[in-house]
């Protein structure tokens, strides 16, 4: 039915809307193109049309580009009303969790020792919680003595914070020229502060 026909944009747009609506997570334009056997460019035009359409009048939700795909999400201003409907899990990050998550997000791939050097405190249990919540994942092992595990953020992390990809992270406030990454890591070795695992 959908094969290679020159599908009119007015027909394609609602179809793309239906797909994004029905998908169980952010949906990639490539996946839609594949399912419809259409060039990705056409899907992108339909997405652009959809975005224009959503912007033209107040709607309950909007199209967010997130974690490499597209997803319909309600506007933040409706959060309070939706919470009353019981859709909210009362979830709040603790400060240690957010700090650790931030360090992992910006410094990945990063080891536990590096995180603890930056935070100045033991971070094992926070790290475990973030792994359990699937916000952080084990990327593998670092090829240095002791082969420590290295960590990075997950797809769920991008989805949670509505980030299209890691480059969409807010920029760090500028102090950075003072602490180049290599130095910080090199310093680890001479560091009397933390007990090695």
């Amino acid at each position: 039915m959908w094969e290679r026909t020159a599908l009119d944009i007015h027909e394609l747009t609602p179809l793309v809307e239906a797909m994004i609506f029905a998908a169980d997570g952010p949906l990639q334009d490539e996946r839609m193109a594949q399912a419809l056997d259409l060039p990705v460019a056409e899907i992108r035009s339909a997405i652009a049309a959809l975005e224009a359409d959503y912007a033209a009048q107040p709607r309950g939700f909007f199209l967010q580009q997130v974690a490499g795909g597209y997803q319909l999400r309600t506007h933040p201003e409706y959060a309070e009303a939706l919470r009353k409907l019981g859709r909210s899990r009362p979830f709040r990050f603790s400060r240690p969790a957010l700090e650790t998550l931030a360090i992992i997000a910006y410094r990945q791939p990063v080891t536990r020792a590096e995180i603890e050097y930056l935070r100045g405190v033991d971070s094992g249990s926070v790290l475990k919680t973030l792994l359990e919540k699937h916000l952080v994942r084990i990327l593998g092992k670092k090829d240095v003595a002791g082969k420590p595990l290295i960590y990075g953020t997950s797809q769920d992390f991008l989805e949670l914070f509505g980030l299209a990809d890691l480059s969409s992270l807010p920029t760090l406030s500028e102090f950075s020229e003072l602490a180049p990454d290599e130095d910080a890591i090199a310093m680890m070795d001479s560091l009397p502060l933390l007990v090695d695992e």
Binding site: Q71, L82, R87, E99, A102, R119, V121, P170, L172, A179
Partner: protein
Amino acid sequence: MDTYAIQLENFEGPLDLLLHLIKKNEMDIYDIPIAAITAQYLDIIDAMKTLNLDIAGEFLLMAATLLHIKSKLLLPKTIEEETEEDEEDPRAELVRRLLEYQKYKDVSTTLEATPQLGRDLFARAAPAPEVLEEAEAGFAAIGLYDLLEALREVLQEKPTELVHEVTIEHLSVTDRINAILTLLQGKESLAFAALFGDDRKRDEVIVTFLALLELVRLRMVRFMQNTHNGTIWLFPSVTAEEAAALDVGEDSLGYS
């Protein structure tokens, strides 16, 4: 000093506490008056001790670090050191850490304020049934953590001696077994020496030997030597055709 106003549990750690002191006293972070800040820091720690509060080890280590920096600053410089241009300020590392920590502290506030899925934004609760009907392709992103967690849960209910078998040694031998079998795949034979490649590190050789022993024990490979002192050849016990014949049929799994 108003140490009573400060509670250690309000601080994420010693770096957080130091940043607080610097801000409160309007100190220049690039030129921290170490004597003053050390005195204040130790006062707080002492006050906490008087109140019999538990002080995390990290706070005590930082106290030691501050005292160490202070003593280095007090030490008269030798002529040699004075002529050395690139002698680093003893405070430099601490300053770097404080600045770096401040960055992540700031950005975590930004992240906290970012609209979060499930808190501020909501997606659809359930995907459409049409999408779920069919079998899947590809794999959903899955983490090593999940794999490990699954293993831990399985092993939790088992006798401990089983748990201990899962060690690095076991793994690297297993790894080598797999590597050897992969090398053998689709081949009739393999020269013994080829297994060791150029990498003749002692550990590697031992692991390879252990792997070969295990393979022989399992009768998965055979060794042959054409002549005395000739090349030793390794043969798979199960040829490619046999392996293919073993294929996936329901009843060929396991106890065949």
